[in-house]
Symmetry: C2
Subunit: 576 residues, 2 copies
């Protein structure tokens, strides 16, 4: 087997594609870059607004991170930049330390990106990518759905033209209700029209383009650029009616120029309090990025290297921190568009970065009259597709434990906030997993007549022997479930005075830890004190190796049998 070679310090993944980069690949990458750029401009502005930051910060965060990822990342098509959930988490974390819109707020966001970058980089170099696996899918699904609802709710104030705050759904809705008398009509009109247009774009634009004779593929991609049309239309309309003078909140003056060079704040107290949010942002960002990266890579039989992805995302966030940006990760929508548009290599990301750079140099004056409500509508339409309420029904049908984990995450996120929701979800899912494995399935087995097979006495007509108790444990023996075996054997021995032998069939036991070994010794000792013997059968090789490193096998009252049938035959005849 040709295992992939591993290095402690990974060589740049770039070398896999940079060599042999030809004109055909360049053309495909460039076409993809144009489409992604058109999609990213409104998204970047909108997610900066969601994070409570000035719009140009969204553009800055879409330049350097794309370059860093192109250099370090292992996915050919992942597009890195601001994404909805991470922007919401940024707003929640930074809002604890600074007022939205202040210079300090931006400085804290930059520091958060820096810390998140350091954490991702460290996790990558220490090969801790597996830690992300402890976010179970129900927790992720519940968290993403709740975040989508929270994000949509957070944009309502902008759509209605009022001021309101809140970190969870209850606070947000209460703040909106308090402002119900101050809804701004024109803003609401622009917001509602933008929403309607964007929802129609998702469903209706592609069929329309095809009816107009546009080839299917071009129609599909053209529809992705629909939000740009919404932005142009809304900007023109607001300019024409002078909406700003009538009180419609505008994006306003956006500085023209290259991303600035920035540094994080060196403030120990701030770092300490940002540590947990930065860790959660890192893990959520990593999980989102790796899921989409793996899905897209597999479609072309490529693969990504999760630990190297951590390094790449770490580099991307550090680069964001040094160029006036905020926390970023690999986005789902933009990566899929990049893939569908035919991007072949991370060079497409480089061209996209150049496109965004041109936009931030040349386009920003044109954004002056863009209403914030239109950006809010862009966000609402994007995130509502994340809200998958079906997960509740599906997990309810499949497994009550998983359903509980989804529900706990959903409720905690909506009722308390993003960070508490995530922590609660991980806690509940770990607790449920431990609880399940601490209640192992232990079957008493007997011989299926005429065979050498031994099956559960409760499910099959089998032969048992009054002096022999044969138990099969369907779980590895470890500290949380070893007592269950003790209890089961104690109960059986107390109930059956005729019992002389207990045989433990170990075919499903993949490991025995020190606690379980102590339990086995205690069981053996108690059985011996009561005049019984303990035997083992079908012990797996690695488990046997481990037992031989202790003195358990020397002290065992009974024997170790290769097959369970040998044990049954030998003990039944000895007992007669």
């Amino acid at each position: 087997m040709n295992l992939s070679t591993r290095h402690w310090w990974p060589d740049l993944p770039m070398r896999h594609w940079a060599r042999g980069y030809g004109r055909d690949t360049l053309l495909r990458d460039a076409v993809a870059a144009v489409i992604v750029t058109l999609m990213l401009i409104p998204q970047s502005l909108a997610y900066a607004q969601l994070a409570g930051l000035p719009p140009e910060v969204g553009l800055y965060a879409s330049v350097a991170p794309l370059l860093a990822y192109a250099l370090l990342g292992t996915s050919r098509v992942l597009a890195v930049g601001p994404v909805a959930v991470v922007s919401l988490m940024t707003a929640a974390a930074v809002g604890e330390h600074a007022a939205a819109g202040s210079a300090h707020y931006l400085a804290v966001a930059i520091t958060l990106a820096f810390l998140s970058g350091l954490i991702l980089l460290a996790m990558g170099l220490l090969r801790l990518g597996f830690l992300a696996h402890f976010l179970s899918h129900p927790v992720i699904a519940g968290f993403i759905a709740a975040s989508g609802l929270l994000i949509a709710a957070s944009q309502l104030k902008t759509l209605l033209g009022v001021s309101a705050g809140g970190h969870n759904l209850v606070e947000m809705l209460a703040a909106l209700w308090a402002q119900r008398g101050h809804v701004h009509g024109l803003t609401l009109g622009i917001g509602a029209a933008s929403l309607a247009f964007l929802f129609w774009v998702r469903r209706g634009l592609q069929p329309l383009l095809r009816r107009l004779g546009v080839p299917p593929r071009a129609a599909e991609l053209g529809a992705k650029a629909g939000p740009v049309a919404a932005i142009m239309g809304a900007t023109l309309f607001t300019w024409a009616v002078d909406g700003g003078a009538q009180g419609v909140k505008l994006v306003g003056a956006v500085p023209q120029g290259l991303p600035p060079f920035t540094l994080p704040l060196w403030d120990q107290a701030l770092w300490q309090s940002l540590l947990v949010p930065a860790l959660l942002i890192s893990v959520v960002g990593f999980v989102e990025s790796v899921s989409v990266g793996q899905t897209l890579a597999a479609k072309r039989r490529q693969r990504i290297e999760p630990d190297q992805e951590l390094v790449a995302l770490g580099g991307s966030n550090l680069s964001a921190a040094f160029t006036g940006g905020f926390p970023v990760t690999g986005g789902f929508a933009r990566s899929v568009v990049n893939f569908d548009a035919g991007a072949q290599t991370p060079a497409a990301g480089v061209y996209t970065a150049v496109g965004i750079l041109l936009a931030s140099l040349l386009l920003t004056p044109a954004l002056f009259h863009l209403p914030q409500a239109t950006l809010a509508a862009t966000i609402v339409v994007a995130v509502l597709s994340l809200v998958d309420v079906g997960i509740l029904r599906r997990t309810w049908t499949y497994s009550k434990a998983d359903f509980t984990a989804v529900l706990a995450t959903l409720v905690a996120t909506l009722a308390v906030g993003v960070e508490s929701g995530l922590v609660a979800g991980v806690g509940v899912s770990l607790a449920l997993h431990l609880w399940r494995t601490s209640q192992p399935h232990i079957a008493e087995v007997g011989q299926v007549p005429g065979t050498e097979h031994y099956r559960n006495v409760l499910r099959h007509q089998v032969i048992t022997h009054p002096q022999v108790l044969a138990l099969r444990m369907d779980e590895s023996l470890y500290f949380a479930n070893a007592r269950a075996l003790e209890d089961r054997i104690n109960a059986a021995v107390a109930q059956r005075p005729a019992l002389r032998h207990v045989v433990l069939q170990c075919s499903a036991i993949n490991d025995i830890d020190a606690s379980a070994l102590d339990s086995l010794e205690a069981i053996d000792q108690r059985l011996r004190d009561a005049g019984l013997q303990l035997h083992l059968s079908e012990v797996k090789g690695p488990v046997m190796d481990k037992l031989q490193r202790s003195d358990f096998l020397q002290r065992l009252s009974g024997r170790v049998f290769l097959t369970h049938h040998q044990a049954a035959v030998s003990l039944a005849s000895a007992g007669d």
Copy 2:
């Protein structure tokens, strides 16, 4: 099978032994009670001193709890009262809120017993006894050994006749070092002599008694009463030399009388801050009590009911709180003595309670001249037998993960304190367990020539097919390890262009949670996109039931085979 019947509200276990209680049983119980009483008097005084409480509180805590346990407990021989580790934990918890020796200190200790009683009772009624299983044996062993060292260190100040404090080993030794110039010679002499005598009693008294013609069994039991001789000797000596006047700290005036009626403090802030210590004390007490109870019950083919034990210990602690006592549990040494002395039923506990009651009514004036250093010596000798350093060597040999858990518990307990040590130990052992199961063993399997058996390609000479990848997962599929399977399959598919089929042999998979189901769907989708099929073989019944509640099987690109051999034969021939 005759399963034991279970009730939501358990009937009193007393009925099992009270009916048919005859003169013979009464005699045996009474003899055991006399011996246990002789052992308990010095122990109760000493553990009260260890907990920072007046000596009579130790006697009070040995009366009502014994009665409550006799009524509610399921062990025939467990002796409940103050024990070393719980007394140390009490001192640590109460010391945070009150000065040792003050009336408030006793009131807080009573409140702690009350809270601990409520927690145990609630855990019992909710059948949460399994929670104690999450204290792994390495953690318990490390904690008990470290506590033994801490307790011994805490008694050094009394043996040296100086004042010193501290909650961990470093603080204690530093405080003693600062007092090195103030060692009280006579106290040290009495302490050293008591220590030497008590160590000799453990080893030398029994052989001496036998050489003097005492029958073996009486010699064994007589040796257990050795500490009483130490106490009498030291008291007489101190009285004769008027040690009190020379600065030897004495037990002093102990109130004569029945245990008082007391109530816990109703102080919400105090309850909140005592909640965690009370929980830890409850869990540690329960674990100690159940271990000894199970060991002794099994020797007579009896059994104990862990959830009912929680109720009984809860009642014992509540009764301690109402009679001027402090947290109690089933003690190891006293229960073994009770068992060895021939106790047959919990009535022995009732007689012991009467014995202690008589002592607290009549004997307390005789304790005036008892030096505290002798009680300290009693404690040191008792706890040093708990310090099992061999656990480090044994776990090192057996399993590095278990060794890490012992070491973490030991170091945290000694360096920080009892509560931190316990929490650190549980955290480390859970983390290591999750880490291990998140790195599952996944073997590629092939056919053993001439058989229908499929084994690991790395360990056996087997036949594989270039178009078929057969993997066996040796762990239940759950959120923390599902990605490992995804990664493994992604890697294999990227490396082998000829691959057409992936077969997952599910014989060792006892459960598939919702995350793992999502992973299987993602794997299936990616394989399908790359032109491959995913098949399953040997899926267990309960797992199949669960899969059928989702739409996974309808969407699966491949098939589900009953045996792995059928899969291999069918796919190899289809591929040709």
